[in-house]
Amino acid sequence: MTLKGGATSACAACKYQRRKCIPECLLAPYFPADQTKVFQNAHKLFGVSNIVKILRSLDPSQHAEAMRSIKYQANVRDRFPVYGCLGVIRQLYYQIQMLEEEMHTVLTQLEMYRQHHHHQQQQQQHQHQHQISSMADDVISQLELGMAPSNNALPLFNQVTHQPYTMQNTYSSSDIDSPPKDNVENNSLWIQHLFFDTNNHGTSNNDSPIAIQSQLLVPNSEPLADTQHQVVQDYDEIHPFFDSIDDRQSYIDTKDAEDSSSSEESLKETTQLMVGNVGSKDLKSAAACFSLTSVN
């Protein structure tokens, strides 16, 4: 039995054309005998002569890359007979557009968070400073109470100052013991939970990051606003009581700006207390208050 020596099998191109595959065959390195389908696709789109024409117009060092692109183009055309590589290009353009839009959205969200964080930091600083100053005022007012001349005066002051002190406590407890940070943390946990849940459902969906981002904003803003509003309300309620103690004239002036019914009742109570606890000069001024009230 004789052995064939040195006989190499014909390449897919020569096999298809049913001719002898010579050693100088240009297509042999790129279309091995076992890649018949690839050659058929390339032959169907370009044709052997056109492929050889392209290779001969190029430097031999470029043959490999050129053949790679030709085979790729032919395979894509086989898969997508109508659009071929143009369809792939359009798809990629669309993908890029979607990614750029998503990036823009994310960057916008990031900027909003940055601004919100900066604003929040500034507010916390202001609140902290105000807290310190109001605590100092409260200490001073307590010291003043301790130095009051009569015991009868104490109930008035105690009654009047007790409320702001309580409010102060409320104010402090709402901000120091349970600062807005807790609300932010709760919201952050919710955000984290939402993010992980969405990730668990699938990360390849481009819509999910956008859905997360749209939900991120909502819970953060309202609870913080509520806390701050509560703080402002407390501060507003403290202020008029200080005015009534320190400066009766200012109380009279402010009385004109308020509603008549509520102000008259509070005025009556105040004047009764004042008549019982103060001297003659005060009585005269109280009467003046009463007269002014009657005029109005």
Partner: protein, 160 residues
């Protein structure tokens, strides 16, 4: 000798091939005589017979799209004989990968910021250039699932 009552101008394909443009000419609707270069490019790269066979395999309502895509690919191959339109695909695919990485990093940054209230990090540096082991750094996005071709793709550095 009477002249023909109606004679339509031959299509660009029949003009180029110097043959009579028949009424049922498959090229006539898609290669008007006003665009001679279009057919010239297509014929130079693919050949008229191949284009004719391709058009016959495609439904009539899609033939115009098929011709336009062939014209685009032919022009791209003439401009870049080595890579043709595949060069554009490679560039676009790299762009997609880069954008996706940047988006992932930015999303992670946003999440960190929202959860930890920490200042956002800078965007990540651009990805490094392709490894030196690859023949050309060329990226083929679409993998041809022919098993006989997989070895050839791997050896030439195709990345899928």
């Amino acid at each position: 000798m009477s002249s023909s009552s109606y004679s339509s101008s031959p299509c660009a394909a029949c003009k180029f091939l110097r043959r009579k443009c028949m009424p049922d000419c498959i090229f006539a609707p898609y290669f008007p005589p006003e665009e001679p270069q279009k057919f010239a490019n297509v014929h130079k790269i693919f050949g008229a017979s191949n284009v004719s066979k391709l058009l016959n395999e495609v439904p009539t309502f899609q033939r115009e799209d098929a011709v336009n895509s062939l014209a685009y690919e032919a022009e791209a191959r003439l401009k870049d004989p080595v890579y043709g339109c595949v060069g554009a695909i490679s560039v676009l695919q790299r762009q997609v990968i880069t954008l996706q990485r940047e988006l992932d990093a930015t999303n992670a940054n946003l999440f960190r910021y929202a959860y930890n209230e920490m200042p956002p990090l800078r965007p990540p540096p651009p990805p490094p250039p392709p490894a030196a082991g690859q023949s050309s750094g060329f990226y083929y996005p679409y993998q041809w699932n022919d098993p006989s071709d997989e070895d050839n793709e791997r050896s030439s550095g195709g990345n899928m």
